[in-house]
């Protein structure tokens, strides 16, 4: 079985956020060049009715390929993946992405906690996660599990966030490896 599978060689960078996070992403994405050594997975709260507008918006802002997420697609370094609306996004240990329509978590589907917890379980130390602006508590528990599993936790400095509640709530529950503003987050990603 997949039980004893080795952590894949790539690193996974997760970015989660809610209200106000898209503005931060739009500042960061155009300035990123190729990411040959890792994949970026973006989990943003979005309306369930919206179909693919977020993917399109992100694709316009970056030269990095944005892959459409369908069930059981392979997570490959060099690409950006965006959690689709109305599904939770999960990680299989063999490197596939799985989707799930189970109950909303923190009033959200996709939920940041669900993806972060799943990535922590699947890839452990190979994960770095950034939590951006938002007005809801989603993401905090996921960051706790990423830290417990030996991954890297980055929280946007609430002072720099349009909606400080989400990063502030996380800060009260987990000590991040880095507390960064938008410029700092960009520099961090470029250093990976």
């Amino acid at each position: 079985m997949e039980e004893n599978s080795v952590t894949p060689p790539y690193k996974l960078l997760l970015i989660g956020g809610s209200a106000g996070s898209l503005e931060a992403l739009i500042k960061i994405l155009p300035r990123l060049t190729a990411i040959p050594d890792f994949a970026i997975v973006i989990v943003l709260h979005r309306k369930s009715s919206e179909d693919s507008t977020l993917e399109e918006l992100i694709a316009i802002k970056t030269s990095i390929p944005v892959k459409e997420v369908e069930d059981k697609v392979a997570l490959l370094p060099g690409n950006i993946y965006v959690a689709p609306s109305d599904y939770h996004l999960l990680f299989e240990k063999n490197g596939w992405l799985s989707l799930d329509t189970s109950e909303k978590v923190n009033y959200s589907r996709p939920s940041i906690d669900v993806s972060f917890e799943s990535a922590a379980d699947a890839f452990g130390t190979g994960v770095a996660a950034i939590l951006l602006s938002g007005a809801n508590a989603d993401g905090t528990h996921g960051l706790v599990e990423i830290k417990q599993a030996g991954g890297t936790v980055i929280i946007q400095d609430p002072e720099s966030a349009e909606m400080p509640f989400m990063p502030r709530n996380a800060l009260q529950n987990v000590t991040p490896s880095h507390l960064l503003d938008v410029e700092g987050i960009l520099a961090y990603i470029q250093s990976l």
């Binding site: 079985m1 997949e2 039980e3 997420v69 369908e70 069930d71 059981k72 689709p84 599904y87 999960l90 990680f91 299989e92 240990k93 596939w96 799985s98 989707l99 799930d100 329509t101 189970s102 109950e103 669900v114 917890e117 799943s118 379980d121 699947a122």
Partner: protein, 271 residues
């Protein structure tokens, strides 16, 4: 929350099969693990051994557990534009047949089956149709048979119905009572509900349309392929297969036998 590890999950899968014959070995591990964690939490277990003991000893508990670990989130006219394509493009084609057989595989609490019955009724095809609705979970089938859904969902369903091209007043399809909406027997009289396990049960009829939306996402690729073979075996030539918005047959060898309907999650069996 107790979090089970990989070894414990495999032990549980093994025991559910060995003691009760339900085979979850082809289920996606990432999702299944979350569901088992959820059951541990909901049912207040202190540790994994307690759960395992109960699973071995109590068939009734296993029934409950299967109800909880399978995902039963569904809604009427979910993805209304998909229903619009069914309404405008698929029903006129299969409607030329003297008799229409439809299979809802993994129907959960039945919201999609009632949505389909409404489409068929409006196309004046329901009288010559049969809707087979199956699920692994017998408890959700009991809900589906009754056709009683929470009234507070009707606003959303009514909006979905209109986006799908519905022209009527949605509320005339149900009777509201004590917070519930009961759908009429004029819709349910052509429905047949039955327990069916996509993992272990075979083909039981030949269909013109099979809908299996957001069920295969809980399976690993091998089991997905097995289910697709079952659907292929159960489809009449020129019949249609409908999957969820993020599911695809494009990685399956079977895709050669199907032609996708434009960019929809609908495939027509061409050989």
């Amino acid at each position: 929350m107790v979090l089970i590890d990989d070894r414990e999950l495999e032990l549980l899968i093994n025991d559910i099969y060995e003691y009760h014959g339900f085979d979850f070995s082809g289920y996606s591990r990432a999702s299944l693990k979350r569901r088992v964690d959820r059951v541990l939490h909901l049912d207040g277990f202190q540790n994994f051994s307690e759960l395992l003991y109960k699973v071995r000893a109590e068939p009734q508990y296993v029934k409950h557990m299967i109800e909880e670990i399978t995902v039963n989130v569904t809604e009427m006219f979910r993805d209304p534009l998909f229903y619009k394509v069914l309404r405008n493009e698929i029903l006129p084609v299969i409607g030329t047949k003297p008799f229409i057989r439809i299979w809802h595989a993994g129907c959960s609490t039945g919201e999609e089956v009632y949505s389909m019955a409404i489409l068929l009724k409006e196309a004046n095809l329901l009288h010559k149709s049969l809707l087979y609705a199956t699920d692994i979970n017998s408890l959700v089938l009991d809900v589906a048979k009754k056709g009683i859904f929470p009234l507070h969902m009707m606003k959303q369903y009514s909006e979905n119905y209109m986006v799908s091209g519905g022209k009527k007043d949605f509320s005339h399809y149900y009777t509201a009572n004590y917070g519930f909406a009961k759908f009429g027997e004029d819709l349910s009289e052509k429905m047949v509900f039955s327990q069916h396990n996509l993992v272990s049960d075979g083909s039981f009829n030949e269909f013109d349309l099979i809908l299996c939306r957001n069920v295969l996402i809980y399976f690993d690729k091998d089991l997905q392929e097995k289910a697709l073979v079952l659907f292929d075996d159960s489809l009449a030539k020129l019949g249609y297969l409908a999957l969820g918005t993020k599911e695809t047959i494009k990685f399956s060898p079977l895709q050669m036998r199907f032609k996708q309907v434009e960019r929809e999650k609908l495939w027509k069996k061409i050989q």
